[in-house]
Amino acid sequence: MSIEIKMPALSPTMEEGKLAKWLVKQGDTVAAGDILAEIETDKATMEFEAIDEGTVTSLAVAEGAEGVKVGTVIATISPEGEVPAAKAAAPVAVAAPTPAAPAPVATPAPVVAKPAQAPAASGARVFASPLARRLAAEKGIDLAGVTGTGPGGRIVRADIDGYAGGNAPALAPAVPAAAPASAPVPAPVAAAIPDFGIPYEAEKLNNVRKTIARRLTEAKQTIPHIYLSVDVRLDALLKLRGDLNKALEGEGVKLSVNDLVIKALARALQRTPKCNVSFAGEELRKFSRVDISVAVAAPTGLITPIIVDAGSKAISQISKEMKALADKAREGKLQPHEYQGGTASLSNLGMFGIKQFDAVINPPQAMILAVGAGEQRPYVVDGALAIATVMSVTGSFDHRAIDGADGAALMQAFKDIVENPLALVA
C-alpha cells in the first residue's frame, strides 16, 4: 500500500505553497528524515522531510508549481519490501524499457483493492488543546490561522483569547481566513496597468513579495503615521563600540553599530513604555517586554527577524543572535516564530549612505525607527562650530496609539542613550 505525501502546512497561516524544488526523483529510496523537497511559503523557503521510509513511486506535482493547496497529494511512497501494487497496475511512465513487464500483473495478490488510506485525516494536523478547540469553535475562529504559544507551538486557551483582536500573530490578521492567499491586492492592479508599448520583462511575484505588498499597503492605508526626526551624536557610541570590541576580541564577538542601535532602541522603549504598544481595535496592548524586529534584506525580499526581549539582553548576545538570524534570513530558512511577532521595528539603511528616511510601520506594531548613516558633519558644540559624527533617525508612530509627545519622549530617550551609551552596558 502506498503512502500519500501531502502538501504540508509549514506555518500557521499557510494555505498554499510553491513546490520550489524536488530533491528526490521517482524510484529513489528515502528514509525518514530525508529532505524530499523545498517548499516556498508566503515568507520563507522550508525543507520538507520524509516521515516514512520507502521508494518514491510518483511525483504528482511538478517542480516550480505554484499555489499548491495544503493537503494536496504531491507524491507517493511505497514502503520498503512491499510489492508496489500501484506501480504494476499503473506504470508511471517508467515502464517503457521492458515490454514483457505486464506478465506478473496477472498473478498478484487480492490486496490491491484497499484504497490508500491517508495517515492524517485531512491535511496537516493542527496541535491545539481541547479547550482551545472548543473555544475556537464557539467563536468561529479557524485554528489554522492561529499561532500557538504552548509547548511545541501548540495552540492553547490564551492564543484563542488573544485572537479576539485579530492580531496575535503578525501575519494572521492581514489575510481574512476565508480569502485565498493568492487573491490579494497587487494582482488585479498589475493587470490594469498599461505598458505603453515600452519593452519589459515580466517577473512573477514570489510569495514573499506578495506578502510585503499586502502588508505595507495595509499599513499605509490603515495606520495614520506621524514622523519624528532627530540628529544624534555618535562619537561616544563609536568609542564604546571600539572599547567593547577590544575587550571581546578573545571571545570572537565583533559588535556592529547596528547591534548597539538595537539595544539603544530597546532601552529607549523600556524608558517610554507608552511607545511599546499595539493598537488592537477595542484595546491598546501595552507590552511588558521589548521584542525588536530588525529589517533584513534577503534575496527574496525584506524580512524582519526578531530579537526577543532585546531590552534585557547583553549587546554581545544581541550581536550573536542577529548574526544567526540574518544568515538564516539570507538563506530563506527563518522559522515562523523567528519573524512573526515583535513589539517595534528597526530599519537601518546607514550602510548605503542614506542620510534620512521615513519607514512604514510593520503592523500590528505601533512604531518603527529608520536609521540613517553616521557621518561627519559640522556641529555646534558649546557655541562653537566643530566636527562631530552625527546620524539622523526618524521614528514612525501609529498616531492612534501614540501621541506626539510620547513619541517625542521616545526619540529623546533614544538620543540620550546613544549619546551617553554607558546605559547600554549597565
Binding site: P130, L131, K313
Partner: protein
C-alpha cells in the same frame, strides 16, 4: 582564587538543585552554594522525613485496626526513637542521592554561607574560610524558615517548630498545634496517631483554609472522630512556658478565653523567606514584605539575578520550586544564546497541593467558592469513597472527590479530594488541567478497574449528572 561560572545557584533545596541540574544539562558551567545540607529543607527537614514519620504512624494505625481485616496483632507498641531514626535514615539516603546527582552533572558544590557582593559575585564563607566566586547569572533559591510566635520563641524544648517536631526525644502527652495549614495538620495527625492528646488552634474559621470548604469540613469531622480537639476562629492569647509544662490562654470563636495545659506546643503559623543578609537589597532587588518579586521566568528587577521557590510569591511548595528552577535555568540558557530551549512561565492554577494527614488531602486549581467568586457558572460533581469498590475492599471508605468545571466552556477549573491515597490520585487532574482538558476528554477516558481512580471518572460524570455508581 576565584572561579567563574555561567550560573551560581544559591541554595540547594528542591528549587536550587533542580535548577542546577537543568542548567548543566543545557551545557552551562554551574556552581551551587549550600550552607548546611544538600537537598535543603525538603528532603532533610521537610517533605521526605515527615512522610517517613507518617508512614510509621499509618502502619501503627493499621496494626491497631488489624482486627478489622481479620488479623490479630498483640502487644503493639511504638518505639519513638526507632521511628525517628528511620526517618533520619531516609533523609540521609536522599541527601547522598543529591550529592551523587551534583557529581554526575558536574556541578561544583561550594559549602558555606553565600552572600551576593555585586552582580554575579558571591562570597562563600565556610569552614575552610571564605572564597569569592563569580558568574554571569545567579539564581537565589535560599528558601524559607518557620515563622516564630512573637511571645513564645521556639526553643526546641517545649515550644517546637516543624524542625524540632521531626526529631522528638519524647512523645508529647498533651500537644497544642498552632496553625492548621499543611505542616500543622500533618504533625497533629502524626502525634495523634502516635497516641498524644492533640489540640489544634486555627485563627481562620476552618482548618486547612486554602482547601475547598467541603474538604475542611470533612477533615474536621474525621479528626474529631479520631479524638483531636479542633478550635477554629480561635487564637492563642498567651503561652506561659514553665518547667513542667505550658499554660495556654486560648480565645475561642465565642470570644471566651479558656486556660489549658499542654506538655508541648508546635508553632506552624507559616514561613518567612530567607531573603535578609544575603546582599539582595544592596544589589537593588527590592523586597515586598520579605518576598522577591519576579516575572514568570524568575527574573528579578536586576539583570542577571533570578529567584525561585520560597523566596518568591507562593504557594510555598517543593514541586513549585523545582518547576521554577527548570524554567529559570532554561530562560538563562536562552539568554546565553541557546535557541533550542523554549521555557514556559508557570501557571499557578496548575500547581497541585498535597497534605499527608490522615485522611489525606489533595487539590489543584480553584475551589468551588473561589471559582464562583471569579464569576464562573459552575458544574460541580462529587463522588464519595463509599461508592468505590476498591475503597471498600481496602477498608478505606471515607472521603470524596470533587470536580469543578466552568459550565460555559467545560474547562476543568479545579479538583479537591480527601481520603486514602488521594495524594497519588491528584496527578490525573493535574495532567488534564495542564493539557487544558474539558469534561469531554475526561469522560472519554477509560479508567482501570478496580482502582480508586475510578472515583475521578465518576466525579467528572457527576458534574454533568451522569455518575454511574451512585
Amino acid at each position: 582564587m576565584s572561579e567563574h561560572y555561567d550560573l551560581i545557584v544559591l541554595g540547594s533545596g528542591p528549587g536550587g538543585y533542580v535548577a542546577a541540574i537543568r542548567a548543566s544539562q543545557l551545557g552551562l558551567k554551574v556552581a551551587i552554594v549550600e550552607r548546611e545540607l544538600l537537598g535543603g529543607i525538603c528532603l532533610n527537614w521537610g517533605c521526605i522525613p515527615t512522610k517517613a514519620l507518617l508512614r510509621s504512624a499509618e502502619i501503627l494505625h493499621y496494626m491497631q485496626h488489624a482486627k478489622d481485616y481479620g488479623l490479630a496483632a498483640e502487644k503493639i507498641s511504638a518505639d519513638l526513637n526507632a521511628v525517628v531514626a528511620r526517618s533520619r535514615g531516609v533523609a540521609k539516603q536522599l541527601n547522598q542521592g543529591v550529592t551523587h546527582l551534583m557529581k554526575k552533572n558536574k556541578i561544583a558544590v561550594h559549602m558555606g554561607t553565600g552572600v551576593l557582593k555585586g552582580a554575579g559575585k558571591i562570597e562563600v564563607s565556610g569552614e575552610k574560610g571564605s572564597e569569592t566566586i563569580t558568574a554571569k547569572h545567579v539564581i537565589v533559591a535560599t528558601g524559607a524558615r518557620a515563622r516564630d510566635l512573637p511571645f513564645a520563641l521556639a526553643d526546641g524544648n517545649r515550644v517546637w517548630t516543624y524542625r524540632h517536631a521531626m526529631t522528638p526525644k519524647e512523645l508529647p502527652s498533651k500537644l497544642l498545634v498552632i496553625g492548621s495549614g499543611a505542616i500543622g495538620i500533618e504533625f497533629a495527625s502524626f502525634y495523634n496517631d502516635m497516641g498524644a492528646e492533640v489540640t489544634v488552634v486555627e485563627m481562620l474559621d476552618r482548618i486547612v483554609p486554602v482547601e475547598d470548604a467541603d474538604v475542611s469540613a470533612f477533615l474536621e469531622k474525621a479528626l474529631k472522630k479520631q479524638g483531636m480537639t479542633i478550635m477554629t476562629g480561635a487564637g492563642v492569647e498567651a503561652l506561659d512556658v514553665g518547667k513542667g509544662g505550658i499554660k495556654a490562654r486560648l480565645k475561642g470563636k465565642d470570644g471566651k478565653v479558656v486556660e489549658a495545659e499542654f506538655s508541648h506546643v508546635i508553632v506552624a503559623i507559616g514561613i518567612v523567606a530567607n531573603t535578609a543578609d544575603i546582599g539582595l537589597e544592596a544589589l537593588g532587588v527590592t523586597l515586598e514584605r520579605g518576598i522577591v518579586p519576579v516575572d514568570p521566568y524568575g527574573r528579578t528587577a536586576v539583570p542577571g539575578v533570578w529567584a525561585i521557590g520560597d523566596v518568591t510569591p507562593g504557594p510555598w511548595l517543593a514541586h513549585k520550586a523545582s518547576h521554577e528552577g527548570v524554567t529559570a535555568a532554561e530562560a538563562i540558557a536562552q539568554e546565553l544564546g541557546n535557541t533550542e530551549v523554549h521555557p514556559h512561565g508557570l501557571d499557578r492554577n496548575n500547581i497541585p497541593g498535597c497534605t499527608y494527614c490522615h485522611p489525606q488531602i489533595a487539590s489543584v486549581g480553584l475551589t468551588e467558592a473561589k471559582a464562583k467568586e471569579a464569576g464562573y457558572t459552575l458544574k460541580v460533581g462529587t463522588f464519595p469513597f463509599i461508592g468505590n469498590g476498591k475503597a471498600i475492599a481496602l477498608g478505606e471508605a471515607e472521603g470524596f472527590i470533587k470536580t469543578v468545571f466552568d459550565a460555559k466552556t467545560g474547562e476543568l477549573l479545579g479538583a479537591h479530594m480527601i481520603g486514602a491515597e488521594v495524594t497519588e490520585l491528584i496527578q490525573g487532574y493535574v495532567v488534564g488541567k495542564t493539557l487544558e482538558t474539558t469534561e469531554a476528554e475526561l469522560m472519554q477516558t477509560v479508567f482501570p478497574h478496580p482502582t480508586l481512580s475510578e472515583m475521578m471518572h465518576e466525579s467528572v460524570l457527576a458534574a454533568y449528572g451522569r455518575a454511574l455508581h451512585i
